[in-house]
């Protein structure tokens, strides 16, 4: 039998996993340890081709359902008439009609102190289970919205526990009596739980399975109600996910798809004979059908459709369709030339050369101005998760280096002054922020600092001598942001700007001479558009440079000194909330004070800006959200119709 578990590197793991109760269908890939098990060997950067030999002669038809207000947090089920979703214009729970794309709000939210989150429709389409943030409790509840019946519209709270940070309803049991949700607990462990409907007297919520800091996703139950499919990252070091199926009535589990690329559980065929899996093992996200028998892969997977870039599985329907989102948002890194006054004198162009990368929010110029480093998602099947690479491109856009550190989430990158290393801001397997030095010659990683619990470090700025790291962290006492300086040699922390209820710091930039810090922070009343100030790195006097006009606000995170220290680049955005995607204009604020000057650069979704060391070019990252909703006709295998549901 062939399996969907890619080429073996350590075949002896199979025996080990078998002893653990994890059935394996054949060879194990490098990343194929059991959920909750210890890490397998680190996978290489390239996806291997996998063991797929069959493909459908005729790829099923797909059609776009909607391209407006598509929310990828909500799922469909049953007949597939609706997708549960969040209406992000109001925070309400809403339903999208998958026939005509229309949206109906279910709740009537008043303000943004409360709002909906992940949602899943029951198989009979009578209920929507959804997460709801309750401001007075400062936590999410799991709620139930009856769509029909005598209690239609009467919201019930079905889970409200102090130990639950976020409940994510994803599926329902086959009998429709319980909601299956993943929850993140306050101790950061993740669990799959089954929450009964209120009609079940005396029933209590059950914990099906506990995982560690990693979370399972894409839950779906087989039509006979016996098997639960999900995906999960097998290692703590990277973000690639494998697909598993566990028995709901015991302790058996099988690895269905394992490779060094992302493998995602999409859903079951209506007869339970196949599990649909999305995988990037062939280099692009593609949909496969894996034959199943007794909770195990029982034959060769069949390629249904290739090149489904940016897909998010959203559920399968009883009529056989597969519903999925496609991320159509824009993530790019643009560059412009600047004249001596700091004004753009060219059109902004992308440095990504048309690649399908999904860069993060920040690029960084090398000290010699010859290269740009940035973080990017490798693959895009699930878009916001998964492994990250660090790419270094020459100024002429040529990719010169791609690094795949054993880190699952790298958020920011900057250069050491001598060009020998990169400073990475990442998160460890336990969700804690890390500052790391990555040697560019050897690739070796060294941890400079691990954040304390709940301190949410961000905005790292390294001093030119590499000995001091300035960043923003939430204070332990007030849980408000403060600016701190880390002496890397001694590990000692010093508070540069204390946390204050009247001043929430949102961005930070170290001046070229390392004497001052520019900080973006809120107004005293927190109602305005923010203030740009500077202060000595030793602490003390905070000098206000510019306060945003009433109609504008400083863009979060957009702040950069000019190389000569004469001014600070910041982003200004309209405060008119009626604009869905307002442009951000880059402005130059004189360091000595005075009115900001436009740099002649305006784009939607600017997230950061970096000026080259010679001051003649600037790069800025843009991120504009966007998604489409698509539906795929039932795949036909061997001439037969393979219908799907749930």
């Amino acid at each position: 039998m062939l399996s969907f578990i890619s080429t073996s590197r350590r075949p002896t793991r199979a025996a080990t996993l078998s002893l653990l109760g994890v059935a394996v269908g054949g060879w194990l890939g490098a990343c194929s340890s059991a959920p909750g098990g210890r890490d397998g060997a680190q996978a290489p950067g390239q996806a291997e081709p996998g063991a797929v030999r069959q493909r459908l002669a005729e790829a099923p038809l797909t059609r776009r359902v909607s391209s407006e207000w598509v929310d990828l947090e909500g799922r469909t089920a049953g007949a597939g008439r609706f997708q549960a979703m969040v209406d992000w214009s109001s925070g309400d729970l809403a339903l999208r009609n998958l026939s005509n794309g229309s949206i109906t709000r279910l709740t009537a939210n008043k303000g943004w102190s409360e709002f909906a989150g992940s949602a899943a429709i029951s198989p009979d389409e009578r209920f929507v289970a959804y997460a709801w943030f309750v401001s007075e409790k400062s936590r999410y509840q799991l709620r139930l919205y009856p769509l029909s019946g005598p209690d239609s519209g009467q919201v019930r709270v079905i889970l409200d526990e102090p130990d639950v940070v976020y409940p994510m309803p994803q599926a329902w049991t086959a009998d429709g009596r319980e909601v299956l949700a993943t929850i993140q607990r306050t101790d950061q462990a993740n669990q799959i739980i089954a929450v009964p409907l209120p009609a079940c007297t005396g029933c209590t919520r059950r914990v099906l399975r506990t995982f560690d800091w990693r979370y399972p996703y894409d839950l779906s139950i087989s039509p006979d109600g016996r098997w639960l499919a999900y995906d999960f990252p097998p290692t703590t070091a990277r973000g690639e996910r494998n697909v598993y199926v566990m028995a709901l009535d015991g302790g058996r589990e099988s690895t269905i798809a394992a490779s060094s690329a992302n493998d995602l559980a999409v859903g079951w065929s209506t007869d339970g004979s196949h599990l649909f899996v999305s995988s990037e093992r062939a280099g692009s996200p593609s949909l496969y059908a894996v034959p199943m028998n007794g909770g195990k892969a029982s034959g060769e997977p069949v390629l249904i459709r290739a090149d489904l870039w940016g897909i998010f599985p959203l559920g399968t329907t009883s009529s056989g369709g597969i519903v999925y989102g496609v991320n159509t948002g824009r993530r790019d890194i643009l560059t412009v030339s600047l004249d001596p006054s700091g004004r753009a004198n060219s059109r902004a162009t992308s440095i990504l050369s048309g690649s399908r990368e999904m860069p993060g929010n920040q690029a960084a110029w090398s000290p010699d101005g010859q290269h740009i480093a940035y973080v990017t998602n490798r693959g895009s099947a699930i878009g916001f998760t998964g492994p990250t690479d660090i790419v270094i491109r020459a100024a002429d856009r040529t990719e010169v280096r791609r690094l795949s550190p054993k880190l699952s989430r790298v958020g920011a990158v900057s250069w050491y002054r001598d060009g020998s290393a990169l400073l990475l801001h990442s998160r460890d397997e336990k969700g804690r922020g890390l500052f790391m030095r990555m040697d560019l010659k050897t690739g070796a990683l060294a941890t400079l600092y691990t954040e304390q619990a709940n301190s949410f470090t961000r905005a790292p700025n390294l001093s030119p001598d590499g000995n001091t790291l300035y960043f923003i962290a939430n204070s332990e006492a007030a849980m408000m942001p403060e600016v701190v300086a880390l002496d890397i040699r001694t590990g000692r922390l010093r508070v540069v700007l204390e946390a204050s209820r009247n001043r929430s710091v949102t961005a930070l930039a170290l001046s070229p001479d390392a004497r001052e810090l520019a900080v973006l922070h809120t107004d005293r009343d927190g109602e305005g558009g923010g203030v740009l100030s500077v202060m000595p790195v030793s602490g003390g006097n905070v000098r206000e440079l510019h306060k945003a006009a009433d109609t504008l606000r400083f863009s979060y995170g957009v702040i950069e000194w000019l190389p000569d220290g004469s001014g600070i680049v910041a982003g200004m955005t309209s405060r008119d909330d009626s604009e869905a995607n307002p442009s951000t204009e880059l402005v130059l604020v004189p360091a000595a004070g005075g009115a900001p000057k436009s740099m002649g650069i305006s784009e939607v979704g600017i997230r950061s800006v970096r000026v080259s060391p010679d001051g003649r070019r600037a790069t800025f990252n843009v991120f504009v959200g966007g998604a489409e909703l698509w539906k795929m006709e039932p795949p036909k295998l061997d001439g037969g119709r393979v219908a799907t549901r749930r």
């Binding site: 109760g21 101790d187 399975r209 800091w213 302790g251």
Partner: protein, 298 residues
């Protein structure tokens, strides 16, 4: 049992059955399965002590002294590594080792099989597996591991608090829980409902005992002195603590970690001085007591 997973992994060829559990229970308490015919698994894994004992290191057949502290068997069905050094990867692989260890039960596998076959109480349980040609030792391992999977503890005050009973934990216990998850950093190893990451960490205890721990299994220098994180379920009932039983009370355990363990070249990066106040250390101990609940499998 509240607070615990329903999913408990087991090998495909050893599903949990009432017959296997009954046989395993009988084996567990049977003193005849030892060299002196007076020692059983339960001699060290005493039910009223949460299936641990009160000695620093275990005492086996003929009164011989073992090498390490008897670990509690609570919730081991959820485990992924067994023994302090993790040398067994499943319960089935683990359960026969103490039987053949000369310092524990001291039988050969051949003698174990002979005694089991000679005991008419076991015959009904052996029949089906033996008919399939399974060796007696395999049937014994399946029975013992099945019984161990029924030894569980949950439904503790901590679990009641977790499902919304805010009165289940005292103010001091809640303070202890916050420290456990925050300043004291216990959560970095003792995570999840079973309060263990099932991984191996060097906290410095070995610097006195000289036991190289996980390195005995892996042969790797970086594993010297690393031992498996024990579950904290019922921890208030399993003193003394650490792999060598060298720490007598929970208060002393907390003090040990507050000092940052014991310095050595391979000290785990998570172990560092905590700077806890007297009140904070006391609150942590109060929280640890809230992990005692209802034990099944007696």
């Amino acid at each position: 049992v509240a607070g615990l997973d329903e999913f408990m992994p087991h090998p495909e060829d050893n599903p949990l059955t009432a017959e296997r559990v009954a046989m395993g229970r009988m084996l567990f308490f049977d003193p005849n399965l030892s060299a002196d015919a007076r020692t059983s698994c339960a001699s060290c894994h005493i039910p009223r002590h949460a299936f641990a004992d009160t000695l620093a290191v275990s005492r086996g057949t003929h009164g011989l002294t073992g090498e390490r502290n008897t670990p509690s068997l609570i919730n081991r069905g959820y485990g992924r590594a067994f023994f302090w050094d993790g040398r067994a990867v499943s319960l089935e692989a683990q359960v026969l080792e103490p039987v053949t260890n000369p310092l524990e039960l001291g039988l050969t596998l051949h003698e174990l099989e002979r005694r089991v076959l000679a005991d008419p109480r076991y015959r009904p349980y052996l029949r089906a597996d033996r008919a399939r040609g399974e060796p007696v030792r395999t049937v014994v391992a399946r029975g013992l591991s099945s019984y161990l999977r029924t030894i569980r503890s949950g439904s503790a005050p901590f679990d009641a608090w977790g499902t919304g009973d805010t009165s289940a934990l005292s103010v001091e216990a809640r303070r202890g829980m916050a420290l456990f998850r925050g300043k004291a950093n216990c959560i970095s190893c003792h995570i999840g409902p079973n309060f263990t990451d099932e991984e191996f960490h060097n906290t410095g205890v070995f610097a006195v005992s000289g036991d190289s721990g996980r390195a005995r299994v892996t042969g790797r220098t970086e594993d010297v002195g690393a031992f498996k994180t024990p579950s904290l379920r019922e921890v208030a009932r399993t003193a003394p603590y650490m792999h060598d039983g060298s720490v007598g009370t929970l208060e002393e355990v907390v003090d040990f970690y507050d000092r940052g363990g014991r310095a050595n070249a391979a000290l785990d990066a998570e172990i560092r001085p905590l700077g806890l106040s007297v009140e904070e250390r006391r609150a942590l101990v109060v929280f640890l007591h809230a992990l005692s609940g209802r034990i099944t499998g007696h």
